[in-house]
């Protein structure tokens, strides 16, 4: 078995196909380093700039609790260190939320993506492993057994005292070693370059994520290899196994993600932005026109703030705002649910499964977005809690803590100065690990990969075992 493995490995490494493909993969890994180093730097700059801006704006508003709590902060998603492994289309995902102590607006895109470009996959590990290396694995494996059948060498091999099991295992391990060599070299070069360019702050969590990512990638490639060998064992001519495998590759790697989007969109319904707008308007009108008598009026004199109409008005506006937020939350949750559905559907393809697993590990894509969004909501609650607590301390305040969207009505709650140090800040949440606090190791994905590996190995082995060399 060891001899066969060595033979396969040596053969693989000497093959011109292999050399060219390996060069391509290595080139992709090197390009990846430069692209993501630059991206990380830009994202970091943007994030720090946004923190600086909010710090400046907030510290200029410490004279008045109303002022500071009303200021619309733009929370920007902190840069994802591991985007080079699984990009997850970060460029086109919303990464900024406008927020104050009372409301948030729907997340918007504020990255440096260029909308003039057609949407194409980026050169991350998911692409390199899932697309490039899977093609390579197919090319290495499609002829392993059917080629030997055609050439008649399989007959000779089997006439030696070699068991079919060890023949199969030897061939498989040899091919796997070839792939692992390329992956290891590529990943090592990639990580070294990123470290050198200063775009990879190492921590235990990040090292763990990289390790898990490499393991998942190897399992994914192994699935492709075993599939190649299975088809190769079943068919008798390499040309046929090639066509079958190429069509599989086309469907699984290229078509499935797009098809998953088409079907996922239909299976979970999400209101269009136009419908959302209409819902918001209706809900506003419902509450406002049915408000208790006096709620609509407003006077700027301080005595009015303590009157009954002012309280009614505060209640009405708070209801409008909370309904408003409920509608927005519902839409956001539906969007996330739909996107997750699409991702789950895409998992029928090994590349989709790999993509999802790596995105979970790296906290990018929809998973990163979800974490970002949750953290932002948590921050808003924290802010609101702070404002309410502060307001309680002021005995001169009417204690009607509400705001009409992004503008505070004067004289509704405390306007005492705030100590800037006590005001909750968003970046503290990120820095204390908000986005990366829970490392999610995709065990389900790993188990599925292992199970598929096992299944394909059995199929391939049975097909080989049934081969009649006569």
């Amino acid at each position: 078995m060891i001899t066969i493995m060595k033979h396969q490995l040596a053969n693989g490494l000497r093959d011109s196909k292999f050399l060219v493909m390996a060069a391509l993969v290595l080139l992709a890994f090197i390009t990846n380093s430069f692209i993501y180093a630059e991206r990380y730097q830009l994202a970091l700059d943007d994030w720090q700039e946004s923190i600086a801006t909010t710090t400046e704006q907030l510290s200029a508003r410490t004279d008045n609790l109303q002022n500071i709590s009303e200021y619309a902060q733009r929370l920007v998603k902190p840069p994802t260190v591991l985007a080079f492994i699984a990009d997850g289309g970060e460029d086109r995902l919303p990464n900024g939320i406008l927020i104050n102590a009372f409301v948030y607006r729907n997340p918007s895109v504020k990255s440096r993506g260029n909308d003039m470009f057609a949407l194409l996959p980026n050169l991350d590990w998911v692409f390199i492993v899932g697309t490039l290396m899977s093609l390579m694995a197919l090319l290495l494996s499609y002829g392993t057994i059917s080629g030997e059948k055609r050439d008649g060498t399989l007959r000779q091999l089997l006439s030696n005292p070699v068991s079919r099991a060890s023949l199969f295992t030897g061939k498989y391990l040899g091919l796997l070693m070839v792939i692992i060599v390329i992956l290891a070299v590529g990943a090592a070069v990639n990580i070294t370059l990123l470290l050198f360019l200063g775009a990879l702050p190492l921590s235990e969590q990040i090292l763990l994520a990289i390790g898990w990512s490499i393991l998942t990638s190897i399992l994914c490639i192994s699935v492709i290899l075993l599939l190649g060998m299975a088809v190769s064992s079943i068919t008798h001519r390499p040309a046929v196994s090639l066509v079958v495998l190429m069509i599989f590759w086309l469907v699984a790697i290229i078509a499935v993600p797009g098809l998953a989007k088409l079907f996922g969109e239909n299976s979970v319904s999400v209101p269009t932005p136009f419908e959302v707008r209409r819902d918001l308007e209706t809900s506003f009108e419902d509450i406002w026109y049915n408000a208790p008598e006096g709620a609509g009026s407003w006077h700027s004199n301080p005595e009015y703030a303590f009157s009954k109409p002012a309280r009614l008005r505060a209640e009405t506006v708070s209801r409008i705002i909370s309904e408003d937020q409920k509608i927005r939350n519902r839409v956001n949750d539906a969007r996330i649910k739909q996107a997750e559905m699409v991702r789950t559907l895409a998992c029928v393809s090994p590349a989709g499964l790999l993509d999802d697993a790596l995105q979970r590990l790296c906290r990018t894509g929809i998973h990163g977005y979800k974490a970002f969004f949750e953290t932002a909501r948590r921050y808003q609650q924290q802010l609101h809690g702070f404002v309410v607590a502060r307001d309680r301390l002021d005995s001169h305040s009417p204690h009607t803590v509400y705001s009409w969207g992004f503008g505070v009505t004067p004289n509704t709650f405390s306007s005492l100065p705030v100590e800037f140090g006590t005001f909750p800040r968003s970046h503290v949440l990120w820095e204390s690990g908000g986005l990366y606090s829970e490392q999610e190791v995709p065990f389900v994905h790993l188990i599925v990969f292992l199970a598929v590996n096992l299944q394909l190995a059995i199929i391939a082995f049975i097909a080989l075992a049934c081969y009649d060399p006569r």
Binding site: A28, Q57, A118, V243, I254, L262, E265, P273
Partner: protein, 510 residues
């Protein structure tokens, strides 16, 4: 001679496993994609029509010129079924406002922006990946396969010219590729016609036939490429590896790397500068407005009615001084906001220029990739590319200018400025009695149950032709923009055919 070789090539392929596999795969993929996207288009189009009606209604309900802020729409392209292009994430509604120059469109139709990072599986994607891959699979062993079997030697010892052999093989391959391709395309069109009930107009049919032709050209290119590899390599497995390598480079790697590299070499400026400018100028304008109020001793609130911003419905029940104060004040800040809009637009222009620069560099890096050329030309034909969107925005900017010019001609910013925010004439404020009379009259109407008596709505909406209409047809197939990528694609085919021809003529059949 050519004919018999050509037929032989076709006959040999027709019953092969790979032809069957290619036929079934293409057919299934095309039908699924067109079916789902066609349904999606019908839904989107219904939503669009609803939205369009609602905005038309909204555009009609204006009572004073300061309320004029129409929402204009770009109709959907039915050809987006075949190539979704950039249509998906660019949006198609623009609110024309005096205080800002339109730089991008709002999206009221796309349901989920979280899916923007996943490309749609449209016909264009099938062309780019499947047609090219099948082209290679059909042709990689057309020459070295015959050599391996030894039939090439016999073929070449005949009196036949080698050029004829090559041309016949090429033509046969193209026809064989065209069969699954055209078959599935025609079925897809039938599905659209008879199941979804989508009717295309003449110019769209021209565009569709051009799209089909482009797909064929693209497939032919890869057949030529496969044949070159087949001639250069001695064994079919080597030929295949070589062809797939070229395919990976030109279809997958170069387009992806081109975008990313361009983004790396020409990074876009942060938009932080833009939002900072907006914030700072807001503060500045607010300060100026406050100064203006104190300097000119303006009293803005009277009898509880006040004019807030530019878009509020306005009802008026004040004295002459109130009116005069508002005329002065509004004249002052309208100009400030309009100037700010121009300044912001200038900043945006440099930002957009940078984006354009990045895009151009990306196109240059990708120019050797036929997949990219195909994408360019097909999205231009389906008018779902960025330039169609840019053209729409340009129309919007011109429309905004037209509205502002119209206002200026009517003197709404200077000599008739009261007409900008109220429907009363100056003469209605000539004397105390006239004002008092009006107040009495309104009070009487309000008492008798007219809830709009105090409101601007009692005037009725402005006539529909009060401001210029938006004349934009919705774009159409952009044949001009599709020309250079198509020409490059054609040149590439000629080049590849010539190269293959030369290689084959020098080929040693032994």
């Amino acid at each position: 001679m050519f004919g018999s070789l050509f037929w032989k090539e076709i006959r040999e392929h027709l019953l092969t496993f790979r032809f069957g596999a290619a036929l079934i795969t293409t057919f299934v993929l095309v039908i699924v994609s067109v079916w789902v996207l066609g349904e999606d288009f019908v839904v989107r189009n219904n939503n669009f029509n609803q939205m369009s009606d609602s905005f038309a209604q909204q555009n009609r309900e204006v009572y004073v010129p300061s309320q004029i802020s129409p929402v204009v729409l770009r109709p959907l392209s039915p050809l987006s079924i075949f190539a979704k292009g950039e249509d998906e994430h660019l949006g198609n509604a623009v609110q024309i406002s005096r205080w800002s120059v339109p730089v991008d469109a709002d999206d009221y139709l796309t349901v989920n922006n979280l899916l923007h990072s996943i490309p749609s599986f449209d016909l264009l994607t099938i062309f780019v990946f499947a047609i090219s891959l099948f082209g290679i699979l059909l042709s990689y062993d057309s020459i070295c396969g015959e050599r391996e079997r030894g039939t090439l030697k016999m073929l070449c010892t005949n009196t036949m010219k080698r050029g004829v052999i090559f041309a016949a093989k090429f033509a046969g391959g193209v026809v064989i590729l065209a069969v699954p391709f055209l078959l599935s395309l025609i079925s897809a069109l039938l599905v659209l016609q008879f199941i979804h009930g989508i009717r295309f107009i003449e110019i769209q049919w021209v565009a569709i036939s051009l799209i089909a032709l482009l797909g064929l050209l693209y497939g032919a290119l890869f057949i030529g490429l496969g044949m070159i590899c087949s001639t250069l390599a001695n064994r079919s497995s080597v030929a295949l590896a070589l062809a797939l390598l070229l395919w990976t480079l030109s279809v997958i790697l170069i387009p992806s790397a081109g975008n990313s590299l361009a983004a790396m070499i020409v990074p876009l400026d942060s938009t932080e500068g833009l939002s900072k400018f907006v914030q700072e100028s807001n503060t500045e304008i607010r300060t100026k407005m406050a100064e203006f109020i104190t300097q000119n001793n303006i009293n803005l609130s009277s009898n509880g009615s006040s004019y807030i911003g530019g878009m509020q419905p306005y009802w008026f029940d004040g004295e002459l001084q109130w009116l005069l104060d508002h005329m002065k004040y509004i004249g002052f800040y309208e100009q400030l906001f309009q100037e700010r809009a121009d300044q912001l637009w200038k900043l945006y222009q440099s930002y957009i220029a940078r984006k354009k620069e990045q895009y151009n560099l990306g196109s240059l890096l990708k120019v050797i990739s036929p997949a990219q050329l195909l994408r360019h030309s097909i999205t231009a034909l389906a008018y779902t590319d960025y330039s169609t969107h840019a053209e729409f925005l340009e129309h919007c900017r011109r429309y905004r200018q037209a509205i502002l010019d119209d206002f200026r001609n009517k003197g709404l910013f200077d000599r008739n400025i009261h007409g900008f925010f109220t429907r009363y004439e100056m003469s209605d404020f000539a004397s105390e009695e006239i004002i008092e009379q009006r107040i009495q009259e309104r009070r009487r109407r309000a008492d008798s149950g007219d809830e709009f008596a105090w409101r601007i709505e009692s005037f009725g909406a402005l006539p529909a032709n009060y401001f210029p209409p938006f004349d934009y047809s919705g774009g159409g197939p952009n044949f001009e923009a599709a020309l250079w990528p198509t020409a490059s694609l054609a040149l590439m085919i000629i080049g590849i055919f010539a190269l293959g021809f030369v290689v084959f003529i020098r080929y040693d059949v032994r």
